[in-house]
């Protein structure tokens, strides 16, 4: 919403400065978004009077002027043909930035004659394209008078943001009312006068669509003389960004901005029969004032006569029935249209107008008749003519709302601050509420222009916004405990720990979009129709991600394109298996690509890092599990990882047969190819939501007592020849369980395949650590355990001990 300072002052009697007014508007909720002050733009320009004009000694087309600038006389070299003695024009002194020629004036020597400034043309001031000569003013203003003042350009334009709850501020008078309440002045008396008119209005009004247009008032004015509107009106409309058309149309626009009351004017000679508000009919269309043709339907409220649709109620009138400079009879419409229907119609047709903007927010329904009187008075003033009596169909949908408010108590309850009933009453009255006070209770009549006010809380809001939140004292929130209690849930802690752990293993955290392209979602088990956006920003961001892997792979591709070839990325966040809250799950995903390992990346004099492989990320994944409180000795590894992993070089981490904790492995080259990701990639996903929750053992943090002995542990090595498909962990598990008493640890220290062993065999070598309990192990005891290990492994895997 735009208005000018002088326009505001037609309603507001104030001594406040522009700055004070703007600050008050911003604080009370009409945020100032911009101030355009032409007086600032034109500040350096003053009236200059040419006292003498003599030919330049060295140039035919130039003159040397002696200009009175109000601050003394200066010499100016000028090329304008109309420069002459006695001319009053616009002088720009040295140092002025002249926007029309994009130049800051300096003292100059033009063909040997010094020049101290410039007499300007309209083009140089960007006022018009006029450049045939310098500005020649017919004015009494003395030299040195600011040009902006002389030209009437000293009226700043203010633009404010309108929140959807404040339709009353879509008129200058409504804005003035807020400023009065804020203590910046008094509201001037409404100049509204009522014109009775002569004779019945010959144009009848019919309402077929009472829900969408409950009231419609109109009157005919005959014998008018339309034409361009006067300068003051044109200037105001231009200042707020409107194009002057003709006096009648400009009058409706003016009242729309002045009072937030949209009107429409019809050329009465072009109307056929009564004017009616009715539902549109399929197949109907009309040419609107914006030059476009719109098709209407039965959901829309149209204004029509016997010839068909004239316009869309509350949105835009038609070209054919509009007022032109030749119009001699005008029918003025002042009606009220349903906000929701107006909004829906405008949206369906993608048609915005000042009228729609106001009606969809809620125009004061009590202003139907007053608006018509305002328009009558203005039309008669601009165009003359003879008005008929007013014709009204329907009745205004007044709310007639009264609210009882325990003002002081409610204000205190919501703000913690104290304000007397008198002050509360004053604020509400200034805002146009009618207040009766009886004891502590205020009976408040809500003005019809405030459709946003429904109850006591709304009234308190009004008082708070005028009183100023800055004036409310801060109050500490009572502490719940001396030392703050921990608040994170186990999952929140795990998410946070995952990030720190993975960053500690050299991964760099990425945050990628929750939506990815559908083909990629499908590659990772996603692409469900129910989590496909109906209105994505682009097809690359249309599917809710089924996991974190595709987003990170996309990141690899982009990073590789920039030459980052060996790195590790991770993300911890939400993904989606469906559209229900429980379908959202949190996982941690890490990837290593190129030559990257815990120890470092790429080439190094001390030894190059190998291409990433599954064991590197298996280590990452298990380290993470361990740090999240899962006993990794209890998990099983199976080979059935999802399709996006290399089928032979990936694994699933399980806890029992049913619970899957995560996946790891090298990525499937086919999937990488479909995503255009080059090079080796290995990664893991850990399903944080599915990790077992540790049982809380009471509140004790005490750990189990530690039993240790000074006796030396003993290590024995065994090498087994097993079938090539035998999983190493079966050998380990068998060895581990061979003797629960002494065997402390089993470590695989060698694994090799070779022709010497046979094509279907491999050798696995384990180191078994035995821990004595009460006394040093005897050779006999050690041999016994060794036999048990060999027997157990042999039984479990068929493996033979190698000699």
């Amino acid at each position: 919403m735009k208005f000018t300072l002088s326009w505001l002052k037609e309603h507001l009697d104030t001594k406040a400065s522009l700055e004070q007014i703007c600050d008050a508007l911003t604080i009370t909720g009409l945020e100032v978004e911009g101030i355009e002050d032409p007086a600032q733009t034109f500040a350096p320009y003053v009236i200059g009077e040419v006292l003498e004009a003599s030919p330049h000694p060295d140039a035919d087309k130039l003159q040397v002027l002696n200009v009175d600038t109000g601050k003394g006389c200066v010499q100016v070299v000028c090329g304008a043909p109309n420069a002459r003695k006695g001319l009053k024009g616009v002088f720009a002194p040295v140092g002025t930035y002249v926007s029309g020629i994009d130049l800051t004036l300096k003292k100059a020597k033009i063909r040997g004659v010094e020049s101290f400034g410039m007499m300007c043309s309209e083009r140089e001031l960007e006022l018009s394209q006029e450049h045939d000569g310098i500005i020649d003013l017919d004015t009494d203003a003395k030299p040195g008078t600011p040009y902006a003042q002389v030209a009437g350009l000293d009226d700043p334009t203010i633009e404010i943001a309108i929140t959807p709850n404040r339709p009353d501020a879509l008129g200058v008078r409504g804005i003035a009312r807020d400023l009065v309440a804020a203590g910046l002045g008094t509201l001037k008396k409404d100049p509204l006068t009522k014109t009775k008119g002569k004779g019945e209005c010959p144009i009848k009004i019919e309402l077929d669509n009472g829900d969408q247009c409950p009231v419609f008032a109109g009157r005919l004015i005959t014998g008018i003389k339309n034409g361009p509107s006067p300068d003051w009106l044109q200037q105001r409309l231009k200042a707020v960004g409107l194009r002057p058309i003709n006096a009648l149309v400009d009058m409706t626009n003016y009242i729309s901005y002045d009072r937030g009351r949209p009107l429409h004017v019809y050329d009465a000679d072009k109307l056929k029969g009564p004017v009616r508000a009715r539902a549109g009919r399929d197949g109907e269309q009309f040419l609107a004032l914006d030059g476009e043709t719109y098709k209407v339907d039965e959901r829309m409220c149209v204004i029509a006569d016997d010839s068909g649709v004239l316009g869309l109620g509350g949105i835009m009138g038609g070209e054919d029935s509009g007022c032109t400079a030749d119009t001699t009879s005008v029918f003025i419409e002042s009606a009220w249209f349903d906000p929701i229907n107006t909004a829906m119609t405008g949206r369906r047709l993608n048609l915005m107008s000042d009228a729609r903007y106001r009606f969809e927010r809620g125009v004061d329904p009590s202003s139907v008749e007053d608006g018509l009187h305002l328009a009558t008075k203005m039309a008669l003033g601009l165009c003359g003519g003879e008005p008929s009596k007013i014709e009204i169909a329907g009745a205004a949908p007044l709310r007639d709302l009264t609210i009882e408010l325990e003002a002081k108590k409610q204000f205190k309850r919501l703000t913690g601050a104290s304000l007397s009933e008198n002050k509360i009453e004053k604020i509400l009255q200034d805002l146009g509420f009618k207040v009766k006070t009886k004891g502590a209770v205020l009976t408040v009549k809500v003005p019809e222009w405030r459709p946003d006010v429904h109850g006591a809380a709304d009234l308190v809001e009004e008082v708070v916004r005028i009183y100023g939140v800055d004036n409310i004292d801060t109050t500490p929130l009572p502490a719940l405990s001396g030392v703050a209690k921990p608040v994170l849930t186990i999952r929140q802690k795990r998410v946070s720990r995952s990030r720190r752990l993975l960053a500690g293993r050299g991964f760099v955290e990425a945050v990628t979009y929750s939506f990815i392209q559908r083909p990629h979602a499908k590659l990772f088990g996603g692409g469900l129709a129910c989590i496909e956006l109906a209105n994505p920003i682009s097809s690359d961001m249309s599917s809710m991600r089924p996991g974190l892997m595709p987003g990170l792979l996309g990141a690899i591709k982009r990073n590789r394109a920039r030459g980052v070839m060996d790195a590790a990325l991770f993300e911890v966040g939400q993904s989606y298996r469906g559209d229900q809250p429980d379908d959202q799950y949190v996982s941690a995903c890490g990837i290593r690509f190129g030559h990257n390992a815990l120890s470092g990346a790429g080439r190094h004099w001390s030894g190059n890092t190998n291409s990433v492989d599954l064991f590197e990320v298996k280590a990452d994944c298990l380290a993470l599990l361990c740090q999240l409180g899962v006993d990794t000795s209890k998990v099983q590894i199976s080979r059935d990882a999802p399709d996006w992993y290399h089928p032979g070089r990936s694994g699933v981490i399980r806890l029992g047969p049913k619970i899957i904790l995560g996946y790891f492995g090298e990525l499937h080259p086919g999937v990488l190819g479909k995503m255009s990701v080059a090079g080796a990639v290995a990664g893991f996903e850990l399903l944080i939501d599915d990790l077992p929750v540790p049982k809380r053992k009471g509140v004790s943090h005490t750990r189990k007592a530690l039993k240790i002995t000074d006796l030396q542990q003993v290590k024995r090595d065994f090498a087994f020849l097993v079938d090539i498909d035998t999983p190493a962990n079966e050998v380990v598990r068998a060895a581990q369980s061979a003797d629960k008493k002494f065997i402390q640890a089993v470590n695989v220290f060698d694994c090799f395949e070779g022709e010497a062993l046979g094509a279907d065999k491999k050798s696995l070598a384990i180191e078994v650590t035995l821990l004595p309990i009460d006394e040093t192990l005897t050779d006999k005891q050690i041999d016994e355990v060794a036999s048990k290990v060999i027997a157990a492994v042999s039984k479990a895997t068929g493996g033979e001990i190698r000699g």
Binding site: T28, R347, E461, P486, L502, G506, V508, A568, D583, S599
Partner: protein, 360 residues
Amino acid sequence: MSEIKQLETQILAAIKASDELAGLEEIRVSALGKKGSVSALMKGLGKLPANERASFGQQVNGVKQALNQALGDKKAALADRALAARLASESADVTLPVRPGPLAEGRIHPISQVMDEINEIFADMGFDIAEGPDIEDDFHNFTALNIPAEHPARQEQDTFYFPKRADGSSLVLRTHTSPVQIRTMASRQPPIRIIAPGRVYRIDSDQTHTPMFHQVEGLVIDEQTHMGHLKWVLDEFLKAFFEVDNVQMRFRANHFPFTEPSMEVDVRYKRVGDEVRIGEGDEWMEILGCGMVHPNVLKAVGYDPDKLQGFAFGVGIDRLAMLKYGAPDLRDFFAADMRWLKHYGFGVLDVPTLAGGLGS
């Protein structure tokens, strides 16, 4: 000079002249070994008259001692020399670079870091951390928050929708973290103090807008919390977060459907180069929206607005990160460009704590 002394002098000279451990050992054997020259002297002991034996024996033992001492010293000196030679041969180019190690490589994303900072501050004021789903229904994202069906915020230009379901309704990507208010209030009884950080989605894309961004919602509901408390919480939060002694806030009346009164809060700031200094200067910057929870919202979750009241606020997490740590373009937050992540990211050990300070 006695024969013994002469022998001693001779052997000591040989020890001194010896240049390697093997030679030294030969000298030791030839002097002190079973058949050595000094040992041979002792064999002559028996032939001496009884009264000379003691002094002779003493003399020989003295020689033995002196020789052992000299041998030991020489051996140590040779070992030292050998070690020195070995060490010299082992010298390396100590200027060769080492690998920086994983702690130096890893980074935490600024959004995670800032979330940790926010959690730390609000946990200290007794706030829990609540969560909710990204895919929301109409009720939680709009209706319960007093946003009527025809409100502009519900129109397609702002909100991501999912396909229409059998009942004609559509799920949405939540446009704010406010639905977590509803879920929290519906699932427990006051007093409530929560913050709800998370991802939110709006159809928007430019330097300061991305279709996904992060917000943190705050909610306090009980029987007496008022706007004075709201101001205090925001003031404490902003001071703690920006790590300054003073933050000057300006409250502008505004309108949000789910709060009443509603305010936008500006903070005073000054721009120095790329840096934004909060609490200084004379410009105002909008930083958050807040207000007292609307009675209709309380009613929507079955609370009695005559008994219960409280406040809510919402802040952009990405925006806070941009202001505090100076990343200029929001789109970069989600581009996963390794160079950006390394530059704006945080080290593993930069864990924000109130005791140790939040910022790194």
